[in-house]
């Protein structure tokens, strides 16, 4: 590995020196305007034909480029315009270019599908692209929501600012099968294992494009891309210059069903400046403030069986509401009654008539609305300093930092109060090679587990056990009520009222003081997570095509990563000190145009994690041009993922059970070798099935995809259709096991009274997925475009009692109609988007249950002010304010209505 790195650095230095030797002496300047609207056109690529030299127009459409000699031919290109060539023989006159807009479909260029630029029509795998223009014209209030409308994408919404996309199944709030990269940096919080692209990273003004690869992508991007990879790329300050801002003001909760109507404030700015031909910088910042959506699922949950059940707080003494916290603490009051019977034997027969079965009752909980800070604040800041060492080699020092409050759904609901995360990178970019080092610094801030906090809050107010504890008071009052003739449920409810006497009232000083104290105490005695985990990564690749083009275009590369887990024992088993995990990989990719029509690409990647055996992931793709702008693609891909840092080392006491990792160290920590654990479900059915604590293996996926993307009907109709089939091996899942608390032989009773663990396992069965996607975009007259996409994802061969958490609707559909410029001066724009997703059964760590079908309608209408490149927009997300939720226990999302003014948008 060290040798490879040395060669790579030597090659890069060689290039640097060669390029630095180039001379420049003729300056050409000019201006580019939109031929229809006469607007200055920014960020247009201006290159000298036949050379590496190039520049971009600034925010006023001006450019300046230096050539070695004249005459030269300048090439002007930009997405959404017809490419144009201009011959220049004199540098004395300014060049004015009337740039002709083109809204031809399918002309976008993507990079992530093959690591080299290629037209999206010729991509060998399914890929979706969102441009800055798409974001400008989308009705979504936040750019992240645009992803929701892409073909085959499911998004799980934990809260206003916490949204997690996936493709091809396995959705959820903390999706570790879907990578999110921001400017090449893995955006996943290294300890918490969720991606925070909406919280930390780019703001809307700094997004150049988003590319989304559906399905397996490990062969290109390493561990984790089982279901897809989303790559967000920011705007280069050399290309995108000037000051821009957007002010978005909106309202939420308009019907007051969750909370009173509240403002949505979202302000963002970006300033990019090319100081010289060699140096440019940008800074960006964004502030979002709103009253968050709330989880309001008050259905009764059977935590032991993992299913919703009938009843509510008034009808079920053991009620455990999905979004009610503190009521997870449950106990059998029979011991209390037996105690009374022992002290008063004359009541024993009466008590025996009440106690044939356990009388489980739960502590009284508080709703999410009552206990969670309603304020969602998200502040991000980013900066980049770009230096062109040579015209073709750019050094970038950049960082993104974000902080705020958000709500996340994992095994519980988590309030990430004052969460902070920074990503900092240094990279060298050349058209032939790239080298990048970056680090992710995570700080959970005052994050706390809402359920654990509320349970411990209840204990701090009145302990559950003991002769004067809550359960004793409840049990005695219950018996007394029964003796007074009350019905069973009335006796329970009256007993609860007795046991709850003095219970802190929401909003009272007593409540706030106690709750704030408990949430700051680390779990398991409180609710705080003290995670400060970090990630360090270095990666690079080299395009050897200049040496190998006679045979094939070849790219090689590699990366190393080091995780440093640091939770002070509140999340990981790291009470003795930080835990380090190292992994690395190398890849090679070869592309060959076998014929004019057929292009083959083969790649292979090998990765090794210090805790797991190495994995080899090959990939072969073929693109066959059946006609110009019409391509059929076929791919065989493999993907894998090493168990996440949590799956390896988590050690979280959730009071009712312990969520632990699969590292062999846990064998000793919990003495599984001398006091084995048994499968809890089997034990409940009377069978003793010992659970071995074996070596975890990485999960892998083999996937085949066949697709077609092309233009029809005089290039007015863009069709993209695909079908895929995948098979998972060593599927990573969890199993609930139980161990005798005293180290004795296991008994059936231990299923309820033993120490319960949730441990990671590799499923032996080969789970299979299949599905399809279809996208149609049609260009209407007068700049109108309509589109529709539909997708289906399916899971099969799932063993009985296997919790796959596939979490994808069988069918989903998006449609839209829009126009980016209509009216007399083409200043008006609009977009209406409709989304439907089918009902499906959601399986989550917090709760599982049937999700109803969801339909949403988003819309926006905009007006352009060309002189200042400004846009005034009136938009609505979930226009009809039809509250929906897309995971059990997640927030109910209602309508968000906003007006925005964006200045200098391009």
């Amino acid at each position: 590995m060290r040798k490879c790195t040395s060669y790579l650095v030597t090659l890069m230095l060689g290039n640097l020196m060669a390029l630095a030797a180039m001379a420049q002496n003729v300056t050409i300047s000019g201006n580019v305007r939109n031929s229809l609207t006469q607007e200055n056109t920014a960020a247009v690529s201006v290159t000298i034909k036949g050379s590496d030299l190039g520049t971009f127009t600034d925010d006023k459409g001006n450019f300046s480029i230096t050539a070695k000699s004249l005459p030269v031919t300048l090439i002007f290109t930009s997405v959404g315009y017809e490419p144009q060539e201009v011959a220049v023989s004199s540098s004395s006159a300014k060049i004015d270019v009337a740039f002709v807009p083109s809204n031809a479909l399918g002309q976008e260029v993507v990079v992530s599908a093959s690591r080299v630029p290629e037209r999206i029509l010729e991509s060998p795998v399914s890929i979706e692209r969102v441009s800055a223009a798409n974001i400008r014209n989308a009705p979504s209030a936040t750019f992240y929501d645009v992803v929701t409308t892409l073909k085959g994408v499911d998004v799980t919404t934990s809260s206003l600012t916490f949204k997690t996309p996936t493709t091809r199944g396995f959705g959820g709030s903390g999706n570790v099968r879907f990578n999110q990269l921001v400017d090449g940096m893995d955006n996943q919080a290294p300890g918490l294992n969720f991606s925070v692209g909406a919280i930390v990273g780019l703001n809307e003004l700094d997004i150049d494009n988003i590319e989304l690869l559906s399905g397996a992508s490990s062969a290109l991007y390493g561990s984790g891309g089982m279901n897809g990879t989303m790559l967000m790329t920011s705007k280069n300050p050399f290309k995108y210059q000037g000051f821009s801002f957007i002010v978005k003001e909106g309202i939420m909760h308009t019907d007051g069903s969750e909370r009173p109507t509240a403002l949505f404030n979202n302000w963002a700015l970006r300033w990019g400046k090319k100081v010289s031909e060699k140096f440019a910088f940008k800074i960006s910042s964004e502030l979002l403030q709103a009253k968050d959506w709330i989880g309001m699922d008050y259905r009764n949950y059977n935590r032991s069986a993992g299913v919703l059940k009938p009843g509510n707080r008034q009808t079920d003494p053991n009620y455990d509401g999905v979004n009610v916290f503190g009521d997870e603490t449950t106990g059998d009051i029979r011991p209390v009654l037996y105690g009374v019977a022992a002290a008063a034997p004359f009541l024993a027969p009466y008590i025996s008539t009440l106690t044939a079965n356990p009388i489980n009752v739960s502590r009284t909980g508080y709703t999410e609305k009552e206990i969670v800070d309603p304020n969602t604040i998200n502040y991000k800041i980013g900066a980049s300093f770009n230096y062109k060492i040579t015209p073709g080699t750019e050094a970038v020092l950049a960082g993104y930092w974000g902080t705020g409050n958000t709500i996340y759904t994992g095994a519980s609901r988590y309030s990430f109060k004052d969460f902070k995360m920074g990503q900092y990178r240094f990279e060298l970019l050349n058209k032939d090679w790239m080298f990048r080092v970056y680090t992710t610094q995570e700080n959970a801030g005052q994050a706390y587990n809402i359920a654990a906090t509320t349970q411990n809050f209840n204990e701090a107010w009145k302990p559950s056990p003991g002769s004067t504890g809550w359960f004793a008071q409840y049990g005695q009052a219950y018996l007394s009520n029964k003796l007074n003739g009350l019905s069973d449920i009335d006796a329970h409810n009256a007993a609860r009222a007795v046991a709850d006497i003095g219970r802190p009232k929401v909003g009272s000083d007593q409540f706030k003081s106690l709750y704030n104290t408990v949430r700051r105490i680390p779990v398991p005695k409180g609710g705080a997570l003290l995670d400060r985990s970090d990630l360090y990564s270095a990666e690079g690749n080299y395009n050897l095509s200049r040496y190998t083009s006679s045979f094939a275009d070849v790219i090689v590369g590699g990366n190393i990563k080091k995780y440093v887990l640091n939770s002070q024992g509140t999340l990981f088993a790291d009470t003795a000190g930080t835990i380090s995990i190292k992994e690395g990989g190398v890849f090679v990719q070869a592309t060959k145009a076998v014929t004019e029509a057929l292009k083959l690409t083969a790649s292979a990647r090998y990765d090794k994690n210090e805790n797991f055996k190495g994995r080899f992931t090959p990939r072969v793709t073929a693109v066959y041009k059946v006609a110009p702008n019409n391509n059929i693609r076929l791919s065989y891909q493999t993907a894998y993922r090493f168990p996440s840092t949590q799956m390896q080392w988590i050690n979280l006491d959730l009071l009712s059970y312990k969520l632990i990792g699969g590292n062999q160290a846990f064998k000793q920590i919990y003495h599984f070798d001398t006091n084995p654990a048994y499968d809890r479900d089997s034990l409940k059915s009377g069978k003793q099935v010992k659970q071995s604590f074996g070596e975890l293996k990485p999960e892998s996926l083999t996937s085949f995809e066949l697709g077609y993307r092309g233009l029809q009907l005089n290039d007015k109709l863009l069709i993209d259709i695909y079908g895929y089939y995948g098979q998972y091996t060593d599927f990573l899942a969890r199993r609930v096991v139980v161990q005798n608390k005293r180290g004795n032989a296991i008994t059936p009773g231990d299923a309820d009274t033993g120490q319960i663990y949730s441990i990671p396992i590799n499923a032996t069965a080969k789970v299979k997925t299949y599905g399809f996607g279809l996208g149609l975009d049609y260009k209407l007259p007068s700049n109108f475009v309509v589109g529709l996409n539909a997708a289906s994802d399916n899971l099969t061969d799932v063993p009985t009692n296997f919790i796959a958490s596939f979490n994808s609707p069988k069918y989903k559909l998006n449609s839209y109609i829009g126009n980016t410029g209509f009216g007399k001066s083409k200043r008006y724009g609009f977009n209406v988007a409709y989304r439907f997703q089918d009902a499906f059964y959601f399986q989550g760590d917090l709760a599982s249950g049937q999700l109803p079908a969801v339909q949403t309608l988003d819309a926006q209408i905009s007006y352009k002010l060309p002189s200042s490149k400004s846009i005034l927009k009136l938009g609505a997300n979930n226009l009809l304010n039809q509250y929906y939720y897309n995971a059990v226990g997640n927030s109910y999302v209602g309508g968000l209505y906003y007006v925005s003014f964006g200045y200098n948008l391009y």
Partner: protein, 414 residues
């Protein structure tokens, strides 16, 4: 422009149509409905009593006692043991007029005591009346200690009788069972089951022909203190005991025999007529001494203590078979004893665990017991064990803390 307007118009119409279609499409989570709760329907206990002519006398008691509102509250749940009119008449004077007069003469509090004693705050169908010997002790609606709702007067439903298949409330047979109404269950009893508000000590004190028994208790307790005294037990309200109380005649017979035998033991064999005459006179003299005989040195305290302990029924309450602990902790009404003889332990077993106890059997006439027979291990004259028997003179004398049966012989443990 026209085409744009048309397009916009179409789009607008489409939007309106879509809005109509989508309105109320998304569903908030709805509570999963379980089996529909059983909502009370029909008449309450109170209303049922009012509507049942054959229960009118008891209903009068309920109304006068002020308990009708409680028994009509469908939010509450009770099992009520109701004597029908015939039962009330049989219990209160034998005629309707006498029964009415009795009810009229009683205070509301007294009648509330009767009604509440027949109320159990629980749906108790006969199917749930399952228990080991002798019955199941259930709390009634009478709270003895206002500061502690658990301290209640108890009653004793059972499934007993000659064949062990008849249901009783205390010793009253249930004549009709399991009438389910909106807020509970009604069982009918063959007579009025009324509580006692006195302890066994007080109840026994009120029986004139138990003077020897009281004296024997006093003698047995001499030298003892606290709850170790039988007298304390009899006066302790929260115990639950079954006492066999030999009447005065039984003690006199015993005393006569003891004195008679005592004198003869001083005479050489064979006894002469004079010996017999003197012995008889000695016996009569001892009897003439009255209960005081038991407080003298004619008998030892240990003897009397052993005999009295033999009249307190007990059972082993220890959870450790190796260390038995016999305590007087149950209340056996006459109907709780079977027709086929059984052996029951006594407090004698607390000092000598292997003692076989007392053999007891009941003679049934219909569902009621006409007599109980207790076989004693010992006897005044040499005889086989359990051939010396006592019969009940009076049965089922109820107290707060137990029941006592008056018998015609003093049982001897050895």
């Amino acid at each position: 422009m026209i085409s744009i307007k048309k397009s916009l118009k179409s789009a607008g119409l489409l939007l309106v149509g879509t809005a109509g279609f989508l309105a109320a499409c998304n569903k908030a989570p709805e509570e999963i409905l379980g089996p529909a709760p059983i909502t009370p329907s029909g008449l309450s206990i109170g209303a049922t009593l009012t509507a049942t002519a054959s229960d009118s006398l008891f209903n009068r008691m309920v109304i006068k006692s002020g308990m009708q509102a409680t028994l009509s509250n469908t939010a509450l749940g009770y099992t009520l043991f109701v004597p029908d009119n015939a039962a009330v008449i049989a219990s209160f004077g034998g005629t309707l007029a006498a029964a009415n007069a009795f009810i009229a003469s009683q205070s509301a509090a007294n009648l509330a005591g009767i009604v509440k004693y027949n109320m159990i705050a629980q749906y108790l169908p006969t199917a749930k009346i399952v228990h080991p010997f002798p019955n199941m002790q259930m709390p009634t609606d009478i709270i003895l200690d206002p500061t502690n709702p658990f301290i209640r007067l108890t009653s004793f439903p059972s499934k007993s009788g000659a064949a062990g298949a008849t249901f009783y409330y205390n010793n009253a047979p249930l004549t009709a069972t399991d009438a389910v109404v909106a807020n509970g269950i009604i069982h009918h009893t063959a007579f009025v089951v009324a509580p006692s508000l006195k302890t066994l000590k007080a109840e026994i004190a009120a029986v004139s022909n138990l003077s020897y028994f009281r004296a024997a208790i006093a003698r047995a307790d001499s030298g003892s203190v606290g709850l170790g005294r039988l007298d304390s037990l009899l006066n302790y309200a929260v115990t639950n005991m079954t006492i066999l109380a030999p009447n005065d005649a039984a003690f006199q017979t015993l005393i006569f025999g003891l004195a008679f035998r005592s004198y003869l033991n001083t005479r050489p064999m064979p006894y002469t007529a004079t010996d017999t005459a003197v012995a008889t006179a000695t016996g009569n003299g001892a009897v003439a001494a009255g209960p005081a005989f038991l407080s003298t040195n004619n008998v030892t305290t240990a003897q009397i203590k052993g005999i009295m302990a033999y009249h307190f029924l007990a059972k082993d309450v220890s959870t450790n078979p190796a260390v038995p602990a016999f305590q007087p902790v149950y209340r056996a009404f006459s109907v709780n004893f079977p027709a086929t003889p059984i052996f029951v332990q006594t407090l004698v077993n607390s000092s000598f665990a292997p003692h076989p106890g007392i053999r007891v059997s009941a003679t049934y006439t219909g569902p009621l017991v006409s007599a109980l027979t207790f076989g004693s291990y010992g006897s005044p004259t040499p005889a086989a064990p359990f051939t010396y028997t006592a019969n009940t003179v009076s049965m089922d004398r109820l107290a707060i803390n137990g029941v006592f049966h008056i018998i015609d012989k003093v049982l001897l443990p050895q």
